[in-house]
């Protein structure tokens, strides 16, 4: 498949990137080069091959169990109290580019 200029604009929009016109030209070239290369996957017939999204799906310790049972150790019962405390507000705000001491501040979203 060939990547078009319209594709680059659409994908940049989806990815929340504001590209300069030089960047667009460069990315059009690079994406076509890479996509041209990965197209070789189509040489393989994968009709009945299941996708592998996670290593642990395939190599969980206990293969006899189904996927959710196999990872039962990774879940816990719901509790009301005794959870690990979350980050203190002041600590969480320390890295904020802009805050009012209580919230993160961003440019106005809704006009009056």
């Amino acid at each position: 498949m060939k990547v078009t200029e319209a594709d680059v604009l659409r994908v940049a929009e989806l990815a929340n990137l504001e590209l300069t016109s030089e960047e667009r030209v460069r990315l059009l070239k690079d994406l076509n080069s890479i996509v041209g290369y990965v197209d070789r996957l189509n040489q393989l017939d994968t009709t009945d091959v299941p996708p592998m999204a996670q290593v642990s799906d395939r190599y969980g310790v206990d293969q006899a169990k189904t996927s959710s049972e196999r990872f039962a150790y990774a879940s816990r019962d719901d509790v009301l109290h005794g959870l690990r405390p979350s980050l203190e507000r002041q600590e969480a705000l320390k890295n904020a580019p802009q805050s009012d001491g209580e919230f993160f501040k961003v440019p106005k979203v809704i006009e009056k």
Binding site: L14, N16, E18, R26, Y37, L44, V55, A96, P107, K108
Partner: protein
């Protein structure tokens, strides 16, 4: 009694191993504080040309060293890493110590918590010297994608150290840390280890918690050690491995004492040599050195060499670059200039703020991968690219299932070439991606792999032998690498 005057003459910092450093502190030949200070002095004088470090954590290091010295003063038995100076790749968060992932977008980020692997090292007594340079968000094979400048290979300053854990490998190779942690998503521990002439171990997926590792591609990211010896890698793995409630993909599989396992004989082990790894694109000098290493494993160590085939090898790179970039495009969506990191100054609306922050904050390679990943996941292309790549991932896993029915481990070159020149591939992303051709598949399949030095080219550049193993069988690959390391040293 504390030694009054510390002389370092008998302790060559370039040759220190974890064990020798820890024992020197335990036996009071040197204090942990003096050891840390001599490393900081060494870094100060030598790292200018290499640029392996982005940030030194002196206060934290000296406080920890003082704790170890206090224990030693009381005559207590010290923990296994007591006073051992280590470096941490800057993709692992460290409380109170700036963590950038090599990106402008995190240039001012000071984390509020510690990565589990880092915390475990410190609990075992380690002294954290600082954070090492890396490709931005671990995306690269040469360390040239760092927003804070490239790293030079200490073996030849005109060449790359490899990537993305280039800083960690260079620091260890230059003797500016006893050992380091790196991360591996497509080869980023093993390839720089090979390029710099040190040992790099990528454990099984799930063996080491990823909590606090800044995410690149979550189904492929691993933390592992970069060390001077195989034994040191075994030692560090034993400490960082094991279930962590903070990472649901960390496995509940018992952790062996790998330092014991490496002592077991390798005689009779069956080692597979995949023909697909010795064809076109392999530098002849690298091929010859790796073949010599394999012969040495057969003749000196008594391993049985078995030809195997991994027929889908040529599809690993295309599958990898679709899956890794798709996951990255999702993971990197969090960098929006709201809660932490860099925010572009001039933006009137929220949408504009997001776009400008990301455009100014990310480097060219990161944007390229976000674009490719977003494209592969977008409507109309998902089945053709992302889903297709996941199916090919299954085929690659089946290749290894099949091979491992007949062999205990697989031996290959780590990288098709020795370290290349700085700038040589910087303008050709596809050529750069192909540098990972022998390493990406272990990440996709989730098996462990280690790179161990196996000689050098005529130009004096290090070459690595890669040993791949079955899931959670780090013991065997460490044993093979250790046996080879000793056979080579003896010859």
């Amino acid at each position: 009694m504390r030694p009054e005057k510390i002389t370092l003459n008998y302790l060559d910092l370039n040759l220190l191993t974890i064990e020798s450093a820890r024992n020197a502190v335990q036996e009071r030949q040197i204090t942990a504080t003096a050891l840390a200070e001599s490393f900081f002095r060494k870094i100060q004088s030598e790292d200018g040309n290499i640029h392996a470090y982005l940030e030194l954590s002196k206060d934290r290091a000296l406080a920890q060293a003082a704790r170890m010295d206090a224990l030693a003063d009381k005559g207590e038995l010290l923990p296994p890493l007591a006073g051992v100076p280590l470096a941490i790749k800057d993709v692992m968060v460290t409380r109170g110590v700036r963590t950038t992932a090599g990106s402008k977008i995190l240039s001012n980020f000071v984390p509020a918590y510690d990565c589990t692997a880092v915390a475990r090292l410190e609990q075992a007594g380690a002294v954290l010297l600082g954070k090492t340079n890396c490709d931005e968000f671990a995306m690269g094979s040469s360390n040239e994608n760092s927003a804070f400048g490239t790293v030079c290979n200490p073996r030849d300053l005109s060449r790359v150290p490899g990537g993305s854990s280039g800083g960690s490998a260079a620091a260890v190779a230059a003797g500016n840390a006893v050992a380091a942690l790196g991360s591996d998503t497509g080869g980023s521990i093993r390839q720089p280890a090979a390029f710099c002439g040190v040992v790099g171990l990528m454990p099984t997926y799930g063996r080491v918690s990823r909590y606090g590792l800044i995410a690149f591609a979550s189904s492929l990211d691993h933390i592992g050690p970069i060390t001077r010896t195989v034994k040191d890698a075994a030692l560090l793995l034993r400490i960082i491995a094991g279930r962590d409630v903070m990472d649901s993909t960390s496995a509940e599989v018992p952790v062996s004492d790998y330092t014991q396992e490496i002592g077991r004989p390798v005689k009779g082990l069956r080692l597979g040599v995949p023909r697909e790894y010795f064809g076109e694109g392999l530098d002849p000098e690298v091929g010859a050195l790796v073949q010599t290493a394999i012969q040495s494993l057969a003749q000196k160590c008594g391993c049985e060499i078995v030809p195997v085939s991994l027929p889908h090898t040529e599809y690993a790179i295309p599958a990898y670059y679709l899956i890794a970039t798709a996951e990255a495009s999702s993971n990197l969506a969090r960098y929006d200039g709201v809660r932490y990191g860099f925010r572009a100054a001039e933006a009137g609306t929220l949408a504009e703020m997001y776009r400008r922050t990301r455009d100014q904050g990310f480097g060219a390679e990161v944007k390229r991968r976000i674009m490719l990943g977003t494209y592969a996941l977008s409507a109309g292309y998902y089945d053709a690219y992302y889903l297709k790549a996941q199916k090919v991932r299954t085929l690659l896993a089946r290749d290894f299932d099949q091979a491992f029915q007949n062999v205990d481990a697989i031996v290959t070159p780590t990288s098709p070439t020795p370290a290349f020149k700085l700038g040589e591939k910087a303008d050709d992303p596809l050529a750069m991606y192909l540098a990972d051709i022998f390493t990406v598949v272990a990440d996709l399949v989730g098996i462990p792999g280690i790179s161990v030095p196996c000689g050098q080219s005529r130009e004096g550049l290090p070459v690595g032998l890669q040993v791949l193993g079955k899931h959670f069988d780090e013991g065997t690959i460490l044993r093979v690498a250790h046996a080879y390391e000793h056979a080579r040293a003896a010859s």
